[in-house]
């Protein structure tokens, strides 16, 4: 375990990681110039291509089909999530995710149907970002990638590792992997469709949409990882009046 943490730290150091002095800070933004340029690209792309395509896809595809595609995608993410939960030392989550994968693969047509959800085994996504978080690795600076969207240095490091170390890559035949790639792509388009009003409110409505997106992204990610809003992050509204 200690070796893994050391390895993670080395990895993040190699990535040129920067660390905020305050983990709740919203002011720390060492890559702002790069980020703003990437954000402009993303906003234009979303307005001209991604948003319209997602709305067209969402309106043309029945909810049942879109749900099925998401189910398949989520199901085949489970093997890598079992690995992550193991690295996080969460035994119950390992057992639940393993059972969920077995049930939906065997009795849910390879994951199209979410049978396990009704057995009280709902999908709970995790990733290397959460593993790093449980190990105490700081999130690093906010980092927007062109056509990738918002993230942090820890996020993006985790994302690369999640993609390259996915055990499914070593087990499934090439055709199946290509199929999962398409499924994954459609799921991203569907997510864009389902979050349409949120993305509109963050990317296109605000006066400074870069800042609005950054603030919302960081707070949402931190709350998700720490299991909800902590009273420690609240401010005393009456302090300076």
């Amino acid at each position: 375990m200690r070796n893994l943490i050391a390895a993670a730290c080395v990895l993040l150091a190699l990535a040129g990681c920067s660390t905020s002095p305050d983990p709740n800070s919203l002011a720390f933004d060492p890559h702002e110039n790069f980020n703003r340029a990437a954000h402009r690209v993303n906003t234009k792309f979303d307005g001209a291509v991604f948003g319209p395509v997602a709305r067209a896809y969402g309106n043309a595809t029945p909810q049942l089909v879109r749900r099925g595609i998401t189910n398949v995608r989520d199901n085949w993410k489970l093997p890598s999530q079992v690995v992550q939960y193991t690295l996080q030392g969460k035994g119950v989550a390992v057992a639940k995710s393993t059972t969920r994968f077995a049930v939906n693969t065997l009795f849910g047509l390879g994951g199209v149907l979410d049978v396990a959800k009704d057995m009280n085994l709902p999908y709970a996504e995790t990733d290397f970002n959460e593993t790093f978080y449980t190990w105490g690795v700081p999130e690093g600076g906010y980092l927007v990638l062109p056509l990738g969207g918002p993230g942090t240095e820890r996020d993006w490091t985790g994302w690369v590792l999640d993609l390259t170390l996915d055990p499914v890559n070593w087990v499934l035949p090439g055709e199946a992997l290509n199929g999962l790639l398409v499924v994954g792509g459609l799921d991203i388009v569907n997510q864009r469709y389902e979050l349409d009003s949120v993305i509109q409110a963050l990317l296109h409505d605000p006066t400074d949409s870069y800042d609005a997106t950054r603030i919302a992204y960081l707070q949402n990610m931190r709350a998700r990882l720490s299991g909800g809003t902590s009273v420690d992050t609240l401010e005393d509204v009456y302090a300076n009046q």
Binding site: L26, Q63, S197, P206, T207, D208, D211, A212, I215, A216, Q219, N220, M221, R222, A223, R224, G228, T229, V231, D232, T233, L234, E235, D236, V237, Y238, N240, Q241
Partner: protein
């Protein structure tokens, strides 16, 4: 030396009296905090039922805005929220500007957040818990449940800093309204060349 030995002044009896008084403070303080938590929860339940009632009343969008603005001014401390969001310019503003800004801010908030009420027609707000943060107030956790859609976690920060319990912040899926609005209002003030009067006029014209 005028200062005597502590043992002379602070007798055993004084210590006991002191401890008893401290104990009494704890004894009276604890129920007061528990009461604050219960009051905050009751307040959020009350607002939730008024909001759901309004969203389902079949009223027009513009009537909904007026209704929402009424709920805001009744249950939220928009003066404290507005002052905190505006930051340093608040302190240098005149009394008339402050009054005009709070009215404009309230108008703006009701439009900005009331716009999506149409999507919440069959929504239910469930209070799931509360935690006392002491000086910052009580955080009441709720879940907005809509059939066939993901639940939305909404936390309400309730504080009695004004003398009575009022909502001072909303945290939606971890995202604080105070932080978001501080960025938005700050950006609008910059765009208005730093003129508070221009910002007020712009907030008033929010559709």
């Amino acid at each position: 030396m005028p200062i005597s030995e502590p043992g002379d002044r602070l007798g055993r009896r004084d210590v006991l009296v002191g401890l008893a008084a401290g104990g009494a403070l704890v004894a009276f303080g604890a129920p007061a905090r528990a009461q604050a938590t219960a009051q905050a929860q009751a307040l959020v339940s009350q607002i939730s039922s008024e909001l759901t009632q309004m969203v389902n009343s079949g009223r027009s969008q513009s009537q909904m805005y007026t209704g929402f603005e009424g709920i805001l001014s009744k249950y939220a401390d928009t003066q404290a929220i507005g002052a905190s969001v505006l930051g340093p310019p608040w302190r240098s503003a005149s009394a008339a500007q402050k009054k005009a800004f709070i009215a404009a801010f309230q108008h703006y908030l009701s439009r900005r957040y009331g716009k999506q009420f149409g999507e919440y027609k069959s929504a239910e707000i469930k209070v799931t818990g509360a935690k006392d943060g002491g000086r910052v107030g009580v955080l009441v956790n709720t879940k907005v449940v809509r059939p066939g859609q993901e639940d939305v976690a909404v936390d309400w920060q309730v504080s009695s800093g004004s003398g009575s319990p009022k909502v001072v912040n909303l945290v939606i899926e971890g995202v604080s309204l105070l932080a978001s609005e501080r960025a938005e209002i700050g950006a609008r003030l910059d765009a208005a060349g730093g003129s508070l009067d221009k910002l007020i006029a712009e907030l008033n014209s929010q559709a």
